[in-house]
Symmetry: C2
Amino acid sequence: MILKTISQYITFTKEETKFFLSLLRQKKIRKKQFLYQEGDICKYTTFVNNGCLRTYAIDNSGTDHVFQFATEGWWIGDIESLKNQTPTMMNTDALEDSEIIMISKQDMDLLYEKVPKYERFSRMILENAYIAHQQRILHNACFSAYERYQHFLEKYPEWNARIPQNQIASYLGITPEFFSKMKSQALIK
Amino acid sequence: MILKTISQYITFTKEETKFFLSLLRQKKIRKKQFLYQEGDICKYTTFVNNGCLRTYAIDNSGTDHVFQFATEGWWIGDIESLKNQTPTMMNTDALEDSEIIMISKQDMDLLYEKVPKYERFSRMILENAYIAHQQRILHNACFSAYERYQHFLEKYPEWNARIPQNQIASYLGITPEFFSKMKSQALIK
DNA sequence: CGCGACGTTGATTTGCCTCAACGATTGTGG
DNA sequence: CCACAATCGTTGAGGCAAATCAACGTCGCG
């Protein structure tokens, strides 16, 4: 799975593939289990083989705010904490029993040294992630809650079917109560 | 200036430096002049030598929403439009008379081919930009307008002194009127 | 079964917006 | 160098989108 994802961007030789695979650690994680908690220093970047994870921050009043979801084929992790080796402000846990693949920061740096074209892969993945965030910032600024919800439905129909509504509400930046009302009333604009 | 910025991340040989410099186009842009408008396809990525630019989107009701500012040493551009060669949703213009350096997408791709370590530079710049966006998304979700303003003051004191308040208000996601009231009343929480 | 997670609905509140009016400053053409 | 417009910031009255708080139904699961 992870090789297939990478092969969409760059082509490994056999040796490179072998080397790459030697760096991976597979892991199972159960629903509700934490991968990281606030204050941890993230040592691994994570690829989701199957299942579903989320990262979220907690504000001063104790409310969760979902930063991202990750299902099959997605990467998840706090790049800030991983890059700077600083404590993360976010929590990462599993919404479903999941199988994940982890690469340590050390091995990642090793990979960049030995297989420079992996830089290209990372750059491209980052570009995509950056674009997604750009859109999210603009949508939060330019659109109403209902419009954001509609866009979410178009962009991630699979997530809508799979992820609890209170989590989606949090991702969209609204309360579960308002989300429920919005859906039932189909508030236009 | 641009070489100094790059040398913080990677080291060019003399030939590479020469090649890199051959790809740059310098340009002056006057206050209020557009670099890109909604619907344009971005062909260049832009580095600011001096002055100040901004990108912003316009919502259905005609209100601006600033996505980013760029002063000396910053890069600016719609990566989505640049990467996919799709029409941009945003406008980029100058808040001050400015001097900028532009690199075309074509030359950028050429650079990636000829100087693979430039991939690394891009990856690192992107990581930083990604982190900044991550923080912005979390702050918008977790903090009140006043808290966001305080954070802005801490992080970008120079911008606060230099950029008109209505633009900062837009960046923070509030109206100029509310921004003014907030400051005068020092609304806590 | 019984408890906790999830969703719904209603009454009330609030953070921020809208609209409108009004100084202060800047800049521009005559 | 002045008149005038445009830009920018401030202040006040009223309004709205979404939050809060609370109660209640339902489902899945240990």
